[in-house]
Every structure is written in C-alpha cells, then in structure tokens.
Subunit: 338 residues, 4 copies
C-alpha cells in the first residue's frame, strides 16, 4: 500500500487528486490538509464524495507526513514553496501542482509571480513533470514541478513541430481559453456566475506566468531560443482548455506528413491523441487526455495547431498522478483510464 | 425634468435602475451612491455604460438628495431601513427595492429577516408597490415597498384565481427557480461560476423571506387567510425566474374560462401577458413583462399556474420605475417599452 | 467473459452504457447498432472514446445477438417494442431503457405514448427495474423495463414516506427539472443552444408519460391508489434532474425521525444517499447515486422531499448496468463505483 | 413614415432587425416573410414580441414590397442573391445581411461559398456597409452588403493600425470565438445544447468565408495586400464575438500612442469605444457597440488587439439599421441608443 498525503485538499486541484486517488486500491490517502476548511469532513466540502471517504481536513503539520511515501502539494503559487522544503527534507517524494518550482530562474519567477523565491536551493532538484518530454528524469526524481495547465496544452501542441524543425522558433502565437475552475475555488465578483456567464474576457495579456514556463521548457527542449505570445481568455465553462497556436512553417509540408510526424512523436504517450479532424473540449473532459489537431495553411505558410485538455486532470491532478505512477515504477496509466 | 437619486447603484438592481433611467429624456439621475465602490466612475463598474454616463459613485449623504424629487433605495435588506427615514423626512418620494418595508408586522420581519426592525414608525406609510394590485394607493404614496422578485411572480400568478375563488386558499404549492443575479453582486464560493454551472439547488426551504410577503399580500387581497409552501431554487442562468404553482380547484372549470378570467383580470395591466401556451423565461428577459400560463388538471382537480419574469426588471428595477411613473402621474409604461 | 450487445448505441443513453461497459474487464461489447449512423466507428460519434474502442456501429440484425448473454435496448419509445421480442425469443436477457415495457396497461400506454402497443404479450414477463424496490424479482427476470429518469427521481423520493404511511397518497405535487440530454441526441430548434440557454420552460404539463409510471409503481408498492401531479421543466444544463416533491403529512413527525426512516429504508441500497442538508445536482453528476433530502414543514403540514440524479446514469445507463449486475449475480455496484 | 419590409424574418438576424424596428416611431414594417414559418404570427415565433406586433409572416412575393422604401434581406448566403435583384429592380433600397454581395470577385465567392454567383451584375452596385469605413458611399448607395459578424470585429480592430502603418500587412493572426446565434436558428445535433454546452471547438479552419471578406476590405482600404489567418471557434454563449488579433509592429510605439491613434481614428464613430483596459463581451451584449482594447507587446514586437461585438446587433441587424439610417439621411444612432 502506497501512503500519500495531500496539502491543499480543499481547492479544485487538490480535490480532483483526492477523487482520482480514492478510486485506487493500491493507494491510501493518509492526510489531507486545508487552511480555512480545516476541521471539516472532506465530503462536506465535496458532497459528491459522500459515502466514499471519512477523511477530515486538518491544518498542515509536516509531522503528519513523516511516514508517507509521497505528498501532493496543491497550494496557490507562493504557498507551495513554504511547505515543499520540510516535506522534501523528510525524504518524501513531492509533487507540487503550483508554479513555485517550474522556473529555474528566480529572476523570471520574481518578474511573473511578483514574489521573491524563498526556496531557491531546491530548484536544482525539481524536475518539470511533463511525462511526454521528461519521463526518464521524472522516474528518478524526488521533487516534481507539475506543469501549468495552459503550458501543458501549448507545449504538447508545439513539441513535435519544433523538435522536427518544421516551424520557426520565433513568432509563435498562442491563444487559449480556459474554464473557470482554472482560477481556483474562491469567491470573487469577477468569478461569480452572473459576471462570467454569457461572457468572454482576455486577461493577463502579456504578463501571464505561463509565458516564461512555455518558453524555457521549449527552449531547453529545442536547444535554441523559442519565443511565444500567449493570450489567455476566461470562458463560461467549468472545465477545459482550448489552445489555438499559429507557427510559421519553415518548409512546404503536407497535412498528412505533419499528422504522421505528430503521431510518431507521441507513439509511446498514452494520453496524447492525434486527431485527423478538429479537437473539441468535451472529448477530453474528465479525462487525462490531450487531443491535438493540426492544419497546414499553405496560403499563409503557417501551421495551425489546436489542443484540448481538462485543466484539472491533464492540466493538474491527472498529470500529477501520471507523474506519481512514473516515479513509483507503476504503469503510467494506472487509475487514469476512463 | 424629474431629478432622482439612487442609493446603492453598484448592485445589480441599482445598476439596472440606472440603465433604465439613462434612457429617459425626462429624468436626470443627480446622485448615485455606493459604499465600497464610492469614488469610482459608474462606467468602470458597468462597462456597458461607457460613453453613456459621467456619473461618479459617491458615499451616501442624505444632503445630496435634498433637492431631488425621488430616491430609489437599492440596498440589501437591513440597510434600507437606515437610509429611508432621513430621505422620507426630507420630503422626497422614496421607492425601496429591498425588503425592509414589505411586511407590516415587525414580528414577521424579525422572524424571517433575522433582524430587529429599526424604522417601524414608517411601516404605516409604506405602500406595497405591485401596480397590478395597488395602482391607486401607489399613485398617492410617498413611500413604496417594491415587491420581492419571487413574490411578484407568485402573487401575479395567484391573484385572479384567488380573487375569483376558483382555487382554495390553503394547500398552495409554489416552486420557483431563479437566476443568479437575484442573489446580488457579490463574491462568494457558492455563487461562483464553477459551483453554480451545471447545477441546481434548492435553498432556504421553509424559511425564505418571501413566504410571509406572499401570504400577507394575498391574505389582505382575498380577505381570508392564504397559506403557501414556497421552495426557491438557484439556477445556472443570469436573469429570470420561473414559478410553477399548484392550487386546488374549488369547482370544475374549463381551461378557456380560466384563461378568459385571467385576461380580464389583467386587462388594464400593460405588463402582464396571458399565454395560451406554456411560458418561458427568454420571452421576458430584459423586459418588464410577466407572462402567465395556466393549465386545468382535471385528473387531480388542480390549477397549475406558470409565471415568468426577469428578476431584475419586473422583479426589481423595472417595477420600481413603473411605480415611479404612477407616483408621478406619468404613463405607466414610460421608459419600459422594449 | 460476459458478452453483451447494445441496440441504439448512438443515442446518449446507449453511448453512456457503452462508456460504462468499456471500463469493465468482465464484459465484452460484441455488437452495437445504430440506424442513421450505421457504418461509422463508435469513436467518430463519441470522440471521447478515441483509442478506447474499435467498434463499428452496425444496422440492427437480431442474428448478431444470437450468442450473446444480454442486450441493452436504448431506442426511443415505440422502437423498443419492435426489437425486444426477437431478442427475448432467442433466450437473451434483455434490458429495455425505453418506455415500452414500463406500463402493464396497454390502454395507459396508448393514452400517454400516443401509440398502440405491439408487444403486449411480453408485458407479463417484464420486471420494473428499480433495484431499490424490486431487487429479488430483477435477479430472476429475463426482461427488464428500466425506469424512466424522472420516475426514478420521484419514486425513490416518495417510497419511504409512502411505505411508512407518513404522507397521504393523494395530493402529491412533483416538480422536476432536467438537463437537455434527457431529450436525447437530436437536432431540433427547441433543443438548440440558442433557445435553451438562459431559458427555463415547463413542458408536457399534465401529459408526461412518466405520470402513469410513477402512479402505478407507487400504487402497487403501497397497495392503494397513489395520485400525483407532475410538472417537468427543461433546464440549461446537460445532465441532471432536480425533483422537488410536496406531500401532505398524515401525522406530526420530527425531521430527524424522517431522516432516520429514510436512512433505514435505503440501508441496503448502495446508490441512495440520505442527506442532512439540501441536495444539489453536481453531487451526483456522472455517478449512479440518488441523493435525497427531506424537510418537515410544520406550518403547512407537508413533507418536502428533494432528490437529484444524473439522468443518463441512475436515470438510464447506470441503472441498466445495476440491473444487469443483479441479473447476473454480480455485486450490484460493479463498474459503477466512481 | 418610412415603410420597410424584411425578407427572412424568422431567423435570428431578421428577428433582431424586427425587434429593433418595432421600437421606432418613424418606421413601419409593412411586410415580413419566411419560408417554412409562413402563415404564423410573428409573436408565435418570438414570444417576447407578444403584444407588440400583429404581423403575420408571409411567403416572399416581390410585389408586396413594391411601394416600400427599403428592404432588409436576412437570408442564408445563396438565397439572398435570388431575391435582391427583383427588389433592387423595383427601385427599393436594399440591405442584404447575408454574404452574397460582400465579395466583388465571383471567383472568390465560388471558392469560399461553394456556390456559383447568380447575380454578378449587381456586384458593382453593392457598397460594403461598414459605416466606420464607408459612410459617404453608404449614404449614396441603393444596395448595401452588410458586413459579416466576424469580419466586422476583425476589420474594426485592424483598420487604425493598418491605415497608420504601425503594423505589417502580412502575418496577421486573428482568432475569434462566437456565440451560437451566429450559426442561425436551426435544428442540428452540432448546435444542440447537449453538444455545445461545456464545449469549445474551432471550425472551418482555413476555409471560413470571412477570410476573403476581411482581406479584400483591408487590402482596398490600405492600398496594399493584407493577408490574415483567421480561426473561428464556437462558444457556449448565445450572443457575442470575442476577437483577438496579433499583428507585427513596424516600429516602436507606446501603448498610449496606439490608444490615442485608435481614439482619433474612431472619433466620429458613435458605436466604437476604445478601452483603456481589456474588453469583455457583456459590455456590448444587446448593443450596437464595438469595444476595442490594444496591448503593445514589446517583447515580441507585436500589437495585440481585442475587440467585442454582439454578433446579432453590430454584427448583423444593428449595423443594418445603422446603414439604413445613413442611407435615409437620419441620425446614425437613431433607434440604436441603448
């Protein structure tokens, strides 16, 4: 029996991790923490779990995690770096679903997260947990920086084209749209139903923290500077991200050849599906899949790439569990099948 | 030029009143107050009003209303009774969109609003502002208690049947469902898009403050005790209320006769439309109409009545303006046409 | 390995059954039929199943079902009675998700379904597949009439109160609201997003085919005539039913006693959860649960019962699989856990 | 009194034109046609108009338009070119809300609309009805090609930047997302609530008929070839378009300077509002406004432009009425104020 704990189980990502882990017979969730909801039963917060768990949320105390095998940290950025070091130091494997360990540069972190980094010494130990890119290093890692939701959708869409050099590394344009659960479980007028419904709005234009994440991961993978423009939008749906990417083709290439190239690139990736037609969000809702469609636009010499994920699964908790499986030597897909 | 002020212009009802009043050439909004948003331009809060108003929201100060003809008070229940007395004492006409002056009984008020009433001396001056019932007394009033949204939809649906004695005054069952704007403009997890979307939930079962409002208004109109059960539900739409009512028939009566009776009852009511078929919310969205459908169910000897309104218009700001028109001797429909 | 077939796999109920069955290791779906979509791959219609099934939809041919253990029939009412007889005659177990075998009276069938019944001789073999009521007869049955979605939500809510005689059998008022998937997978202006969104509308008032289903099942269970009024509404959500029931109390009884009585009644029912507070749809979405809340309203001497289900799971495909499990002597919850 | 007719009054654009015209005291709608709905009262199709119009929809017959001043043609592309010639020949002013007269090239028409053009002789008489660009020629025109909804949102966003040469004419990337009413009033599985809700999907990637419209209008305005990539997406909202544009800056320029340049360009355009912050759809819903926001992204030397419109108003019926006002020498904003 693998024994795990969840720090931040009352947010949407933490709750989704809980839901996925409760289906597992080989895993036991021993501790689940929350701040303002500490003391409440988990199934009071998530009535869908009624009858499926007796867990009571508790305030974070590192000692409670001492004997565990692995901890998921699902806290807002800035909070994760406070609890990851003590957990890591106790010898646990740690998967951080927040943004604190995704950027190796504390300067970029400060610039985009508007916070000084207080656990810089651990950055060198952190592996970027995108299994389709880093499976081997994930297997050997003790600290995983679980990728951002938008970043996952953009990087998976771009990797094959960039790695094969069929698109240029500059001038990439990414527009994404996300459901509201990506903004977390919180009460604010801007996230209220009355304001979000029947509305769409771009936000953090030019300043979203996933810009440096996308650029540094792709730059490192391609061994050359990749620059992107990224514009996220808030959508009136609960779950899901749609990402539409434009990149300039470096050569004339047929649609089928791009499809083949993408299929081959992800041949061993059980959660990426290359589509002959245009992907849609509901195909991946509540799954760990990333569906990708491509379109060669000869008229403008561009490759248009469309990807969809569920922001809480492949964009957060599902990918975290995929990383856990890899770290523990288990089949990558375990507990993520449906 | 009629000069008016709005207390609580940053909430949905206040803002909707503002929107409707800005279309009028005979009315000038001289003051608009808010608490936490004081100092902001109105069109920063309501970007849809950009280019249509230069008003800056200010903190409430009764003196600013001194020379005005009429004040709309669109504050949460409990707050209205603090500002209505000074405004009333200055000689203004006052229309209170909250619940503070709807119940003549301070005991019922305390029971359902969980607050002691602090302006009981004004209750005797307040007229219940349902024009389809009280047009004459509204015309002569200086203080209007603008009806609750659910109460409007239930009372209009029941009035003709009860007044003609075709249904019993006891055993009436009212189930209603409302869009989220009825809960006001606020940030809370329960009202967030992620929680409300794809969901329905009853609330305040057996304890909603519109129960005594519906019962006392109907009891007074019918000169006999009317009792109702009322269950409200929160819906994933922004605007609109659907109310479905069951009442026991006192006699055998044909569908067409009920339709005729309803049509006659509302003959002079420009904002009530009797439908031969089943009403739907979108027919009344952003209008001051109440659409009513009826169904005589012989099998169970019940009359089923369905009504729809826009909770922010006929259920709040539109009805308030309808009341203002009547108070000022203007055509009832002025500025409410579309 | 249990070998099953699905007739009508391209509709929402059939597709949901497929989705649930594909997770099972003990079951193999050998045949899946459709009419207009015959010849297409299943995962072209349901892109979410890409990579999980190679099935190709075929036109119905009873011979293809000859060697199978069980057939699910997920056709519109009126169509089911055409294919059930040949399947039944070949010796298969058959679970009909449509309405054709739910009413024992062909006269009621004709009245509410507006069709003559053409397979009346099989009605005597059909067992009403509500496991919480008929588990034993289901286990021995060869033909199951899977309950209607609204009927499930209403009957489960009323059974304990009626069986214990704490509410009267007459004067029961049921208002329900359903997501659009209940209307099936079809193209019609009335079901288009532009018409349904931001709207609510009652329909089939006084004439819905679940009225006789609810009444006859409850009448039979209670050994005395039960009559109900039932008003369904169409909601702008995809999945889920909210049912709010008013019944007249026959006695004074405390809320806790009703809760205890309900909990005891469903003690052995793994998919019914009695809630101390008000149920909400999202607690049961994509699960086979029915959540039930009750409120004793002393003021009007009524019991208010609120129930929620996912119309495609507990209201259709999930309940069908629950029935299959019982028929095959498997654990009732197999494959329905999450 | 101006006498007008509407061809195609049962679709969303035609109905919206009707709604807007019914508010006018200077206009009388004398004829309204429909095909399958002919013979029905207008307010049976649009229950929101109950009590506001007695019009009965009739089959199209050019003679009924003989004495009228102006006709709106709101038919699907391919149908408009059948009725416009007879109306035009009778001497009426005609505003075609479809796509048949927007492209001067019959070859491009054939390529993108997949239809041969059958009224090519009238193309020379048609003026592209974007008032912000062609006000003078509109005033003198007898046949207006009312712009496409996406095209309106893209062209208005790009015009100032292109006309001032601050962005390059090549490499422009436009991603748009539209509510479902843009697809018209029709029953199809793809537009059903169950399929659209909680979903987003790109469509017509690389082949949308607004591509040549955007390119030829901008090319003609800029006196040099403009090429764009345009990817539209379907959104789960009823009304509204969000368009996000990337264009390469030709020079270093400050955000404030771009804002000033945009404000000046649209100084005399009453329905374009330049926003200092990011626009959102709900600010323009049910209005004729186009709100525009800009962001100078120095890092990638791009100008990001975001625009929002209501696809049925500024993107269709509202713009058509704006054009009518200009053609008739009336104030441009008449009847479009709110």
């Amino acid at each position: 029996m693998i024994r795990v704990g969840i720090v931040g189980a009352s947010g949407y990502s933490g709750m989704e991790a809980m839901r996925l882990l409760l289906r597992r017979k080989d895993i036991k969730v021993e501790a689940a923490t929350a701040s303002s909801s500490a003391g409440q039963r988990l199934d009071a917060l998530a009535p869908g779990l009624a009858g499926r768990s007796d867990l009571v949320l508790e305030e974070f105390d590192a000692k409670r995690f001492e004997d565990l095998d692995l901890a998921f940290v699902a806290l807002p950025s800035g909070e994760g770096m406070k609890v990851v070091p003590p957990l890591y130091d106790m010898g646990l494997r740690v998967i951080d679903l927040g943004g604190d360990f995704r950027l190796q540069s504390t300067q970029l972190y400060q610039q985009y997260y508007k916070l000084p980094h207080t656990a810089a010494s651990l950055l060198g130990c952190a592996v970027y947990g995108l299994p389709e890119l880093n499976k081997k290093t994930i297997a050997a890692a003790r600290l995983i920086a679980n990728p951002g939701c938008y970043a996952t959708s953009a990087i998976l869409g771009l990797l094959p084209a960039l790695m094969h050099g069929i698109v240029e590394q500059k001038g990439i344009v990414i527009t994404s749209a996300s459901g509201t659960s990506g903004a977390g479980r919180k009460g604010s007028v801007d996230l209220s139903f009355s304001e979000v419904n029947e509305n769409v709005k771009a936000y953090k234009v030019g300043s979203h923290q996933h810009v440096p994440e996308i650029e540094t991961v792709l730059t490192s993978a391609c061994k050359g500077p990749v620059t992107v423009s990224f514009v996220p939008h808030l959508l009136p749906i609960t779950r899901g991200i749609y990402t539409t990417i434009h990149a300039t083709l470096t050569q004339s290439i047929a649609q089928e050849d791009v499809l083949r190239l993408y299929s081959e690139y992800f041949e061993k990736a059980p959660f990426v599906r290359i589509k002959a037609d245009i992907p849609q969000i509901t195909s991946v809702t509540r799954t760990n899949y990333c569906d990708i469609g491509v379109y060669v636009q000869e008229r403008t010499k561009q490759l248009i790439i469309m990807t969809v994920i569920d922001n809480l699964i492949k964009g957060a908790a599902g990918q975290a569990i995929q990383n856990m499986n890899i770290m523990l030597g288990l089949p990558e897909e375990l507990g993520l099948e449906s």
